[in-house]
Symmetry: C4
Subunit: 239 residues, 4 copies
């Protein structure tokens, strides 16, 4: 067991809130997870042990290295099988501070039909950056669909590239952000945009945001995430 400085109380508090918010906003159900890069050591990240996000408390958080090894899992608790998603993305993307992995229902049809997820309105302007789709068959043939090794984590991180999110065919999606709040925001509005896009496509060919509109909307909205976070937190945690 290596020695690792404890993360700041504020970061831990925010990660617990992120877990609860993702559940309350229906981005995750009993499955899915959110992590944050350690604020004292950028080569580590914090992630709950094997627990539904809606139940996560500060006591459940475990520090992991990029290979998915736990560093302070004193009681040997079971860990998330897919912790490699987080490790390999933090390794590949130094600017990323938080990673969400989810099976949000609205996103599954897009992965399964390879329909491009595109921004229907300013709230999801970040989608204008492009949304790749990860096909695990290309990386490993017939599998249980899960990212349970560093090798698959690397393949997923490569598919994600420099984008805000990646769809995973037959599985779900993974979003990244420069903060927990941004990763949560992107998860919520990617799912909402997916629902709206499915509706709009049945009415006719939608006018999507242009790349430039999406980029400008993303910049301005990133500066207002605190307004939504205060509400999400109140709704999910009562404080």
């Amino acid at each position: 067991m290596s020695t690792v400085s404890p993360a700041s109380a504020a970061l831990i508090d925010e990660l617990v809130a992120g877990n609860r918010i993702l559940f309350h906003e229906k981005v995750v159900d009993g499955f899915g997870h959110i992590s944050v890069r350690h604020d004292k050591d950028p080569t580590k990240f914090l992630l709950s042990r094997h627990r539904a996000p809606g139940l996560v408390t500060a006591e459940d958080l475990v520090t992991h290295d990029f290979d998915g090894n736990p560093l302070d899992n004193r009681d040997g608790s079971r860990l998330y099988g897919e912790r490699f998603i987080h490790g390999e993305i933090y390794r590949a993307r130094p600017e990323v501070m938080s990673v969400v992995h989810c099976h949000a229902p609205q996103l599954i049809p897009f992965g399964a039909t390879r329909t491009a997820l595109r921004p229907l309105y300013h709230m999801s302007g970040f989608l204008a950056e492009g949304v790749p789709i990860f096909e695990i068959r290309e990386a490993a043939g017939m599998t249980d669909m899960l990212i349970r090794s560093s090798a698959l984590g690397v393949a997923l991180a490569r598919s994600l590239g420099d984008k805000p999110m990646v769809l995973m065919r037959g599985h779900g999606a993974t979003m990244v952000g420069v903060s927990i709040a941004q990763a949560v925001y992107r998860s919520i509005y990617a799912a909402l945009n997916a629902a709206l896009q499915m509706e709009a496509m049945r009415l006719g060919e939608p006018i999507y945001l242009e790349r430039e509109e999406g980029r400008l909307a993303m910049l301005i909205n990133d500066g207002a995430v605190d307004r939504a976070w205060a509400l999400w937190r109140q709704e999910a945690m009562g404080k």
Copy 2:
């Protein structure tokens, strides 16, 4: 800081309720806002500072002039970037007493596909007046989609014209009313009608309300909004 008479307690109470109701009825989420024309000075309006509507209290309300300047924002709180929507509509429409701006999910597909929103039933008879669609590209080319200046507010108000609401492509919608209750009613039933219209269009060509049916239904329903308001208030605020 100019001197401005305080609005009546009843008006403030109603505006707070309007904020909470719009959130509880899912017309707004962390974003969107509602204002009311000042009852002591018709050249001013009340609007919350930069806060999610579901969290707004009387202490958050700020008096603005039509140019979007705050008149009693004593602590220099951040304001809504889109307060110009409200100011320019109050300037252009003297009979309007309340304005709602929202991103109600059911309305986004109509803006994005330029599908006419039409009244499917008597509850949304006001839609028979016609629902224009504002295209910000015509006013300003590539933007962040937001109404963050008086010039864009003027363009939006012109698009709204003398109608009860305007759809905003890639953004949301703005509704007006002769009272807070009417603006809230129109927001709720415009969104509900949109959901029903999407369903109905898949079953076949709907029979919409005729202009005259819509007008007559609007008049009679406007006289019964108090019945719904009492319920909405109880549900959103417990009183």
Copy 3:
């Protein structure tokens, strides 16, 4: 003011519960209503005054005659404008003991497109009896869509005929039952069937229940409504 025997406490309690259940189960929102035939005088019925069903208490109930006149509205409270729906159906259908009028969202598209509502599963077997659609234009041309006179009530009751429910184009639906529980049951499952039928029709041509299957399912389910009522009541009223 005529003298009218008070209805039994049990009937009043059940009617209040019916109001609350219809709201909790989203059959009604701020609008819509439910009545019951008076158990001491079959030429009268009980209906709330002008109040959202979700807020109705025993104190709100008013005894009406079939012409829609209130008999014990001591304080002259405002009444529902559409009380004539109830009066004329009780007059035309002696076996009917309860009437629900609603704008359940799932039913509106069927009225607006004249799509036949048909039973997709045993829970809504009563739909196999046939669901007429009332077109107010045939009765009265351009209107506010509402049944605000005995003449329109008569036209609606004629359209209903001997069926369990009638759709009203551009307005909503009206269901009847031999008890409050049956009328509530029919309201809930008519709306649910409508939602399922819209989904099923997009997958292909559904196999609907045959008339005989529907009739047999209706008979057996009518004997089990108490199981659902106990749950609905607990959910809506906590008792």
Copy 4:
């Protein structure tokens, strides 16, 4: 009245939780039921008396034999008319420890249109085993659609065969599991997959999980059901 050893307290507690969870997760409403094979006598099973699953307590559980006879129904309470579903499946499938029967709305359109329910993502990998559709007309012609005899129970069990679930045309579905948790998991994710599949089919031809992907995903997910169960239980029962 035969003598029957009482089931273990843990099993009773889990079956009550299963009832409440199925209601909270909207797999059942006032109707539907879940049973468990008796842990002291594999020729018996536990099932609530005639009660909505959302209201079931330990006092409601009755031990039944495979013919549907109650063994400890001391007060002669009314039983579920469809208890034969459970008895005949336990008789035909010795490895099955729990059976769920439901009318989950998302599953009805698949039964009614004979659309194959197929796994869109790893959470519902068990669907790759194949989902038969039971047509009661083939077994018994015109009926009330219900499984109210051992003969119909046998026909249903034959249609189920060795699969995890069977759709019932015009009625609902029945799922089985090697534990209460697995049967509940399959019920929840079969319904969710159905909703997603309907959406995906409108976007284009979905890529479903291959048989092998489904099998591998099923195996790995079966080992993580406890993570979801802890959440479901907390949400449904507060403990």
